[in-house]
Symmetry: C2
Subunit: 127 residues, 2 copies
């Protein structure tokens, strides 16, 4: 399992990561919330831990897992190469929208449309 990209390619792992955003969780809690057999959870957590996505602390028989930031930053760094590119397209999209704005007044509130990354829209998961 070489790269961070292969780690997050697995839907169940992404589900686990999403769960852990809110707070740390035990294996059993993850298991119940995701309706996933316990060995599956443990195995995915192992992969995530070895890839640096999570770390765990021991609480009696429980293990509490929480996120670690570095791998996400690595994904982000990769995305950076493409940010300028896609921002240009967002600009084009915005020009388009601005033209529609003129033709149809609509409900824009800001004068200057904010620029830069983080302008994507969540399309949701495909099942």
């Amino acid at each position: 399992m070489e790269s961070v990209f292969e780690i997050i390619a697995e839907p169940n792992r992404r589900a686990i990561l999403s769960l852990l955003v809110s707070s740390q969780q035990s294996v059993g809690e993850i298991e119940r919330q995701l309706r996933m057999p316990q060995p599956t959870v443990s195995k995915h957590l192992r992969v995530l831990r070895e890839a640096g996505f999570v770390e765990s602390t021991v609480d009696a028989q429980r293990r509490l897992y929480r996120l670690k930031p570095e791998p996400f930053q690595e994904v982000n760094a990769w995305l950076d190469r493409f940010r300028r590119f896609w921002s240009d397209h967002v600009d084009a999209l915005e020009r388009h929208l601005d033209r529609m704005d003129q033709s149809a007044p609509a409900k824009r509130k800001t004068k200057k449309r904010p620029r830069g990354p983080n302008r994507g829209r969540d399309k949701g998961e495909k099942k």
Copy 2:
């Protein structure tokens, strides 16, 4: 091939995408630059096209491939869920990097180091 994450999990596909950042390329150009057999290139391009990462136009016998922004935005949207989380940790990382880091002058325009996305560094590919 369900999700965008599985698409970018493949190292050769990421290489192709990186190549296309600079400009559009023909299959043959990709093939030569990446030293990859032509059917391999074509097959990966097909996957990338069907996932919306690239589009192609015909130029006689050649096909010119270029990037499309949407899937990247989708990855970006996913990352958003984790941005707040990792930003809290970035301060410590930045202090560390700022000490290590005189090699990256970068093009900061602002005096205050901006917070939030786009702060990651490229760790490179693992082979």
